[in-house]
Amino acid sequence: MSTLTPTNGRLSSTTREERLLSFEGRYRQQQFTRRNWTLLYGALFLAALIGSIAASGFSIPGLIKGLPMAWNYIAGTLPTLTIENFWGDLANWYWGLRFWTRLLVETILMGFVGTVLGGVLALVLCFPASRNLVENTAIYFAARRALEFCRTVPELVFALIFVFAFGLGPFAGVLAIAVHTAGSLGKLFAEVNENVDPRPIEGVRASGGNWPMVMRLGVVPQALPNYASYLLLRLEINVRGASALGLVGAGGIGQDLYVAIRQFEYTDISAIMLLLILTTSVIDIICETIRHRLIGHDLAASA
């Protein structure tokens, strides 16, 4: 086989065998280095895994022993439904349906408002938190740490603080969700921003745009489908999360669930849990549909 392109001066002095031999040497060297790094990281990972298992007390025998007990509790919450008096039993089980529905709607609205508020905050903060979009390291550092603070403090802790500050009720819950959402969505949005194509950004900047203009015209149109996808995912998570906030008095159906658990109203627990599972499934399905439509539209447009 002859060469297809004129060899440049550097290579013309060597023969093909020499070049192939040198390549094989470099390849082996690279494989050797790579394998060593893989082994090192593999060993570190294994050590971390074993350490975590020991520290968290995870054990297979314990799991096998405990599972039936968990099932006993769940079975204990189930009502007795008879075929002869099915509707009567059902009505008995769901005696508080009207009340629970109101709380459920409140829960969904809390999740929704919290997501919107948090989403707006995340959108504002995600640009200064993107490495490729800010030159000033101090701004980048500050934005990153702010987002980290928002998302590392658990929602329940925020909810406790806000209940103390603003009193019992859904307002505190909404705020807690919004703060946590801003933190986690802001990070995801920033990562989307870091993956956008730099060429359109350069194009907008070269036309004389200032920083906000570059963000709006160069970055947002590219990142928008991913923003939407993450926002909808967050909405699902937040509706679920809102149902737990009632535990600390921050509104939603969790309040009543907590009362039921504490007062051993076993059938109420299962009734409310079933309602929650159904609601989150419905929201999951709706969000998934919207997301697929968005992605599908995007795929069709780029083809």
Partner: protein
Amino acid sequence: MLELKKVTKTFGDTIAVSNVSLTFAPGQMVGIIGRSGAGKSTLLRLINRLAGVSEGRISFGDTDVGALEGKALRAWRARCAMIFQQFNLVNRLDVLTNVRIGRIGTAATLPVMLKRFPAEDRANAAMALDRLDLLSQALQRADTLSGGQQQRVAIARALMQKPSLILADEPIASLDPRNARLVMDALRTINRQDKITVITNLHTLDAARAYCDRIVGMAHGHVVFDGTPSQLTSAVIQEIYGDDTETAVDENLTSTMAGTSPAGRQMEAAH
């Protein structure tokens, strides 16, 4: 022998390729020319089965390309190697792995999932890369290479497929004149030495004239010319490139190849 019989491809209401019948003898180097949107790319994609035909039949020897499925389809795709305008390498993989991708058409799934290739593939990839003068870059990431180098990596990947034909979709449209010539020279050498049929879309006349034995002209999805470079008269050029409003097509303006046309020489002299 690759044969297209009354091939039509529609996307919704638009007709991309309309009633095209062509035969390609083994070992030919064919240039397909035409304006953007004339259906050149779609034609190549139909042959490789990246897109399916709406009507008509594509056959290679006894094989009905349109009816292929599963393993046979993958083997067919490997057999007619595609080269793209934007190179379509996997940027985050090194050059060597990109070239070894040329072997996956006939490989088992599990080793590929683990990025395991036989040593024989590595030796062949090294040889293909050396042939294209790229062996010293073999362990670099693909996106660290220049456009011309990336396109030569794509050619090496195509060679690894041991193809019967190479389909090149505007291989030089993103390259500077010198790299364009390197790539076209490489394609022609492969065509002559390895007796591989090359079908290449080109939007410039001078490249087609300089490198191809046969030129096919397309306009609005139809084949409007099929002949040798010398048969390509200005009236034919007008039919391929012109539309009702334009007057004459200046052949020099479509040049991308340095030193193969008067315009190229003038530009080089001016520097």
